[in-house]
Subunit: 184 residues, 2 copies
Amino acid sequence: MDAKTLCLGVLTLGDASGYEIKKHFEEGPFAHFHAAGFGSIYPALNALLREGHVTRTETTQTGRPDKKIYKITEAGRKAFRHALHKDPAPDSYRSEAIFMMFFSDLLDGDQVRHVYDEYLAKYRTRADRMARQDSCSCQNGQRFVHGLGLAIYRAVVSYMEQNRGLLLAPHATQQGGGAASVAE
Amino acid sequence: MDAKTLCLGVLTLGDASGYEIKKHFEEGPFAHFHAAGFGSIYPALNALLREGHVTRTETTQTGRPDKKIYKITEAGRKAFRHALHKDPAPDSYRSEAIFMMFFSDLLDGDQVRHVYDEYLAKYRTRADRMARQDSCSCQNGQRFVHGLGLAIYRAVVSYMEQNRGLLLAPHATQQGGGAASVAE
DNA sequence: GCGTCCATGTAAATGGTTACATGATTAT
DNA sequence: ATAATCATGTAACCATTTACATGGACGC
């Protein structure tokens, strides 16, 4: 899925600037299923403008840099629907952290613990954030995807909590600075 | 994570040819967390050979093309451990199928049903295949990752089964090509 | 016969990430 | 003071994907 289609998708949810589109990919509802950086968003938006798939309005703000708000056109909507009509490419998932955990026996314990803890913390945070976001007002597709993301994050957190011992067996619990030894 | 490190990782599990390494990424235990194609594997192996991180043995086979078996060296193991000692890059997950489902209200029902069905079937197949693979003989890290993959796949399958209605609500069950109008 | 599996590789093209460039405001 | 947020963009770099090139064996 190229950056242009991704941007069009965000713009079907409402007008936005390039900066706001990036935030969408970081915090928005499908943040977990795609990503894009400035280096791909800005050129994509300019290309979409050239193609007539979006219009642009420059907004002057006081105390803030100027903003360029993009709005999808009818041609843009059509192009978006057309792009979504092909068979989807297979999912691609890449996780260096999990790759590392796979080889935990080759790493020293501190490193494994560090990777494990950071990873679990990150997924906990995301699961919590998603759980707080209400998806009630959204359309069905959006609710479906939100729920799916949440289900995946919860599964990861739950599995990791229950199987910590597999990775960090010999070292006991030994976490954080506290004195708790037989935590539970 | 560059292709070289990925190949080294596979080679810590046993000697292999480039072709076999690719199969590892398709069917092996961390298939789900990383991928690599021939175009990145073969050049990576040649680079590793130049660097002395692997050795290569050419094997002549009858009725089969010749094979080049790669074996990791001590220097290679050291380089691998070193590569795994950095902080892992954040996960990147990209799914066109889920992106499509997110925008299901813009797509026609047939298309959504098609994407949904294919996607669920794929995840079911993978979950089943993983469940059959025993991970008992593996080291802890490998068991951990295998279990994690399985947990994720099961969560996806389970969620999708339970929430099909969100995506495909108005159309009733209505599957197959038949004439069923008020099916279910 | 046709497709798939085995097996290796190169080259071009695509496309994304990273670094650079700039700069005001606000919160710590 | 210092970092973060807001805000846009370009250019070099890097890496992967894709297409091309080759070819025998085996099953349908």
